[in-house]
């Protein structure tokens, strides 16, 4: 089987095809086997240097990318805005160009401004991977979510998937919607009216304000974090009230006819969107998501690198 991605960069799920997604899944399955070996490493990217540029905080995504890079034998450099010349007023393009002149082949970037990866992709030569841009997209998270769903319930065509919580401020929600719709799943977004964007139906999803109904309907519930740091005004009366109406707890799940698979991209606000008795229950696949994150990111890096023919 031959396979090549249709794109040089991974800026968002919006711009890639269903075939790209399936190629990434196929490759990720094989990398999942690799990372379960005693020696969890292959030499594929030994001549590739990758810069991880994090202009915004991250734990999981950053560690996951770094592990994926190391397990492909790439050289990596890490950059975090807090301890850099960004604080002295250097522009994004200058920062990145300076890093690239040290012979870097790929850039993994998280940035608070939506569209920052696109801005770079238009101006520089390296492959860009979006690791989250503001409230816009987080494509690798959506791919690992869909990969984990597929592992749990099989092909996603026709499957019922609910995305619950702060849809308005979530890049994970938007990327998930694009990805799941491309794979043919039915998607419902559920949350308080203030946190569901207007016209979200234009993306081909349905809206619900009723958590219990949504949970009864779906095969999988992807629960999102309330992003208090992005909320400029008060969208919910209180965390306690949010938890009462939209938080998942075990007694709610036990009252359902069948319990859906529970996912969360992390970090969890325990006791707000997800109670500990659910997060740590047999229904949750949160830790499998993290494992799949490394395999999926290895697949993305490998496939993007394989597009570039090397010349000495």
């Amino acid at each position: 089987m031959n396979g090549q991605l249709s794109t040089k960069h991974l800026l968002g799920i919006k711009h890639i095809t269903k075939e790209d997604i399936q190629l990434i899944f196929h490759t990720a399955e094989n990398f999942k086997e690799v990372i379960n070996r005693p020696i969890k490493k292959v030499p594929s990217l030994r001549d590739v240097t990758i810069a991880n540029l994090f202009f915004e905080n991250s734990t999981r995504t950053r560690i996951s990318f770094e592990l994926a890079e190391k397990r492909l034998s790439a050289d990596t450099i890490n950059f975090s805005a807090a301890a850099s010349s960004v604080k002295k007023g250097e522009t994004l393009l200058d920062t990145v160009n300076n890093i690239l002149s040290m012979k870097v082949d790929m850039v993994v970037m998280r940035h608070p401004a939506p569209g920052a990866p696109q801005f770079l992709a238009d101006r520089i030569d390296a492959n860009i991977i979006n690791a989250g841009d503001g409230t816009h997209e987080h494509p690798t998270q959506a791919l690992l979510d869909a990969f984990s769903m597929r592992e749990k319930v099989g092909e996603l065509k026709g499957k019922k998937i609910a995305i619950i919580g702060d849809i308005k401020h979530s890049r994970v929600a938007l990327s998930n919607i694009y990805c799941l719709k491309k794979l043919g799943a039915e998607v419902v977004v559920c949350g308080p009216p203030t946190l569901l964007p207007k016209h979200i139906e234009s993306l081909g999803v349905n809206k619900s304000y009723n958590l219990k109904e949504t949970l009864e309907w779906c095969d999988i519930a992807n629960v999102l974090r309330i992003q208090l740091e992005r909320q400029d005004i008060q969208y919910i009366p209180s965390k306690r009230e949010y938890n009462q109406y939209f938080g998942l707890n075990l007694s709610l799940l036990n009252s359902l006819k069948s319990v859906p698979v529970i996912m969360h991209p992390g970090p969890i606000n325990r006791g707000i969107e997800l109670d500990s008795d659910v997060a740590d229950s047999e229904y949750s696949i949160i830790l499998q998501q993290v494992e799949n994150g490394v395999a999926t990111r290895m697949a993305i890096l490998y496939l993007l690198a394989s597009r570039e023919k090397i010349e000495y």
């Binding site: 031959n2 005693p38 020696i39 001549d47 023919k309 090397i310």
Partner: protein
């Protein structure tokens, strides 16, 4: 389309496999401390056929069997025009201290075997590694690699292409020689 020349027909194909299985039994007896690994994708077909014959011809034979994909170890990554997609690796045992027998359908430049040996290193340090190949193309080897068990030897020009057909995939067991490489499918 160019017709390939049959260089090993169905009958002789089976005889060759039988001979290889006896050679392996001769050297390894009951296959104590030995594991057999087929290289994806065509080497797996050879390995599966030979493991069946070994078990038939020596009922006491007992060994670990696995499949190895070498895509991530290839030395032409980022140098090919079309990237290759990987197949499954299924090795649920360690090869540390074991005798390993690897199988591939055609030994030509030796680059696949070189990659396979790099890959094997990630499953432990083997005691020794042997190679079984159905077709040994003797010209144009790129590395100092030699098969321990050979089905047939083929001396052909670089432009030629040798294709092993398997009844599992192509209805009939046989080996064909094509004059031009473009007939590869």
């Amino acid at each position: 389309m160019e017709q390939g020349k049959i260089i090993l027909d169905k009958g002789k194909f089976q005889l060759t496999l039988e001979r290889l299985s006896y050679e392996l039994i001769e050297n390894h007896g009951d296959f104590d401390n030995t594991c057999l690994i087929g290289i994806q994708e065509k080497g797996v077909l050879l390995a599966e056929r030979l493991t069946q014959l070994i078990k038939k011809n020596n009922r006491k034979a007992k060994f670990d069997y696995g499949k190895l994909d070498i895509t991530f170890y290839r030395d032409d990554f980022r140098r090919r025009t079309t990237p290759l997609s990987p197949s499954n690796t299924e090795i649920d045992f360690l090869i540390e201290g074991k005798n390993v027998i690897i199988f591939d359908d055609v030994l030509y430049t030796g680059r696949t075997i070189q990659a396979a040996m790099n890959a094997l290193g990630d499953f432990g340090r083997p005691n020794r590694v042997e190679l079984v190949t159905l077709v040994n193309r003797r010209f144009n080897r790129h590395f100092p690699i030699k098969a321990d068990y050979e089905g047939i030897n083929v001396d052909a020009l670089d432009e030629a292409y040798v294709k092993v057909e398997w009844k599992e995939d192509d209805k009939e067991d046989r080996i064909l020689l094509f004059a031009g490489k473009d007939k590869k499918n």
